[in-house]
């Protein structure tokens, strides 16, 4: 079944190199291009200079955190509350990182640090779909994936800051749905690649419920974090009783 995993062609043998990582990232480019563009527009509107926008997208490199940073900075919030909020927004990476890390134990620590530092929702989604059938991941492949996503993100932010004023309503073209559609694609491929249809559906349903409840009563980012913990625990429990 591996032949049809992705729309892009994969070499029959040893296709786990840097270039394959770059290619495997391409389907996610559109989704993050549109969200990065939007981030650039918001950052510019919040009074940030192009230099600041480049610096922010290259160093912070986190979608939702950049939106929050721009909004809170413009509203004159104190530094400590901006940093605290962003910590919670990005805490979900801890769980994704923990899920990916065991596949790269064979690499030296500095390479692990490099791979971890570029982890995002999308590279996680692509990587875990690829890794779940393996014991060891290829560091070069992961770096190709990460670097493509990274450059795309920085360029998208700059493009949003520079050209944002010319594009008045990207919603009319449905571009704001690119990110949702990408998550839908990543979910479905994950789900089909595993042989746990029933348990996965229970996990998915619990995650949906918990993330919505968390978002309504606490905040959206805390909602995602709580949802992952609850849903994964339910998954372990369900498998035990099967």
């Amino acid at each position: 079944m591996s032949g049809k995993r992705w729309s892009l062609e994969r070499p029959v043998n040893g296709g786990e190199n840097f270039l394959q990582g770059v290619k495997d990232c391409l389907p996610t480019v559109l989704g993050y291009l549109s969200i990065g563009f939007a981030a650039g527009v918001v950052e510019k509107t919040a009074g940030m200079s192009i230099a600041e926008i480049i610096l922010m997208s290259a160093v912070l490199y986190a979608g939702s955190a950049q939106f929050i940073f721009a909004a809170m900075l413009a509203a004159g919030n104190p530094a400590i509350s901006i940093i605290f909020t962003i910590f919670f927004v990005n805490l979900r990476h801890l769980l994704m990182s923990a899920a990916i890390a065991p596949y790269f134990r064979h690499l030296p620590v500095w390479k692990n640090v490099l791979l971890g530092s570029q982890l995002t929702d999308e590279t996680f989604g692509v990587a875990i779909a690829q890794l779940s059938e393996k014991v060891k991941g290829s560091g070069k492949w992961m770096f190709g994936l990460n670097l493509t996503a990274y450059l795309n993100w920085v360029l998208a932010n700059v493009a949003g800051a520079v050209f944002g004023q010319w594009i008045t309503s990207p919603e009319k073209l449905g571009l704001d749905f690119a990110l949702s559609a990408m998550f839908i694609g990543l979910f479905t491929m994950q789900w089909l690649a595993r042989s746990k249809v029933g348990a996965d559906l229970i996990v998915a349903a619990s995650a949906v419920a918990a993330s919505v409840i968390g978002a309504v009563f606490v905040s959206e980012s805390v909602g995602v974090f709580i949802a992952i913990i609850i849903a994964a625990s339910i998954g372990v429990w369900v498998e035990k009783w099967k």
Binding site: K4, W6, S7, L8, P27, M48, S49, A51, L55, L60, A65, F69, L73, A79, I82, N90, H93, L94, L95, M96, S97, A98, I100, A101, P102, F104, R105, V109, N112, V113, G116, Q118, A129, S132, E171, G174, F177, S180, M182, I184, G185, T188, M189, Q190, W191, A204, A207, V208, S211, V212, A215, V216, E220, V224, A227, A231, A232, S233, G235, V236
Partner: protein, 110 residues
């Protein structure tokens, strides 16, 4: 093209607290091996992450439960194409086009 000092300090702080959760598991788990139950737990994380993110995209707006009708409509063909083709690119393109059509239809219909 200037960078303000105040901005720079906040950015450094925000980047450090973002980097730690991303990198820490990579450092720790490259040295110690997780127990079996830990690995089984982490095995459910991908499905949980993607479901939680999709739910918030489609069902939550500004911290309140408000499913977007056009989002729900556009999600259906996106799921169908993802299931049928297993292609991320085809799914994204389908979703975007479906969203465009759904918005147009909901705006034109009475």
């Amino acid at each position: 093209m200037e960078v303000r000092w105040q901005f720079l300090w906040v950015l450094i702080g925000a980047s450090i607290v973002t980097l730690i959760p991303r990198v820490l598991p990579f450092i720790v788990l490259s040295r110690i091996r997780l127990p079996d139950w830990g690995l089984r737990w982490l095995n459910h994380v991908p499905i949980a992450v993607m479901s939680a993110l999709i739910a918030q995209e489609l069902l939550v707006t500004d911290g309140s439960f408000s499913p977007s009708p056009e989002g729900m409509i556009a999600a259906l063909p996106a799921f169908a194409v993802a299931y049928k083709t297993r292609s991320l690119l085809a799914t994204v393109v389908t979703g975007v086009v479906a969203m465009m059509l759904a918005r147009y239809a909901l705006a034109v219909l009475p």
